[in-house]
């Protein structure tokens, strides 16, 4: 089974990278962009039947730093 973990900076945590990308989009002439936040997509190939609790542990112990990031899991059984 393949699972996708989406890791995002929590709301309120400054994202200098997102801000720089935002600025670059404006520099390219794109209008109407009010905010940009950059996150991380992690694709995991797992043994079929891996339960969501185990995947959550992977996220909490390593894939995300829950001090600054939140995560969501897509494709879990």
């Amino acid at each position: 089974m393949q699972v996708r973990v989406l890791v995002r900076l929590k709301p309120g945590v400054l994202d200098p990278q997102g801000r720089a990308v935002h600025h670059a989009l404006e520099g390219l002439g794109f209008e109407g962009v009010s905010d940009v936040r950059v996150g991380r997509l992690i694709e995991l190939d797992l043994a079929d039947g891996t339960d969501e609790a185990t995947i959550r542990q992977m996220c909490e112990k390593l894939l995300a730093n829950t001090v600054i990031e939140s995560f969501s899991i897509e494709g879990a059984a």
Binding site: V13, L14, P16, Q17, R19, A20, L62, L63, N65, V67, I68
Partner: protein, 229 residues
């Protein structure tokens, strides 16, 4: 007397030799070099230093991979026994990822790598690392980092301030750190994480821009606290 100190080297550490040199210059005894893949630390350590650098190429997040390495389980156990632990720069990032210290180090607010000597205000003089500084004293220590922007939620920051656990504050604008925090200590004061590099300021320089000896005092403080214990 001398302290018995170990310096941990992770793949990508690049300040480990400087750290060992500083430790040796102050105590006269050689620092023990420990590889990240070792599962055990040498016995009877007084001090463990996690050096600066780019462990594991900063993969995933700065310090995240190093925090999972075998030696870190031993470092966490040693810290719980009260062994003094110093994390500088990437070492600070590793300590937060290993949850030995609260908070996290984000990308610098200005997006740029910052490499210069900065002024710090000493806020805590109760830890083995800081006891010989004067409270409110300004010291000058070099920084060299891309991810040094200290973050913790407001509740954690209030708790750190209330418990006197902010060790050093930037006395000038540097990287956007919450409340200008440059270094924090653990609840028992025996684990210090800081972004500035004391090991790069261990001897008086011919020119002020080339460093100074304010960092040397941090290692002397550890030595003095052990002699007093």
């Amino acid at each position: 007397m001398a302290y018995r100190a170990a310096v941990i080297t992770f793949p990508g550490s690049n300040c480990d030799r400087d750290m060992a040199t500083a430790l040796e210059a102050v105590s006269g005894a050689p620092a023990i070099r420990v590889w990240h893949g070792d599962a055990e630390l040498p016995e009877r350590l007084d001090l463990i230093a996690l050096p600066g650098g780019f462990s594991y190429g900063d993969y995933l997040r700065s310090g995240a991979m190093a925090a999972t390495s075998p030696i870190m389980r031993a470092v966490v156990a040693a810290a719980e026994r009260g062994v003094a632990v110093l994390g500088v720069c990437n070492g600070f990032q590793v300590l937060t990822e290993a949850r030995l210290l609260p908070g996290a180090l984000l990308r610098n607010a200005g997006q740029r790598f910052i490499c210069r000597t900065v002024a710090l205000t000493v806020e805590n003089t109760a830890s083995p690392f800081t006891a010989g500084y004067a409270h409110g004293e300004t010291i000058r220590i070099p920084v060299a980092h891309h991810d040094g922007n200290y973050y913790a939620d407001a509740e954690t920051l209030d708790r750190l301030e209330g418990e006197g656990r902010v060790a050093f504050r930037y006395a000038e604008a540097v990287n956007g750190s919450a409340r200008d925090i440059a270094g924090v200590v653990s609840a028992n004061g025996r684990v210090l994480g800081m972004m500035p590099h004391p090991e790069r300021a261990i001897e008086p320089a011919a020119h002020p821009s080339l460093g100074g000896a304010d960092g040397r005092r941090l290692f002397e403080n550890v030595l003095a606290s052990l002699a007093a214990a």
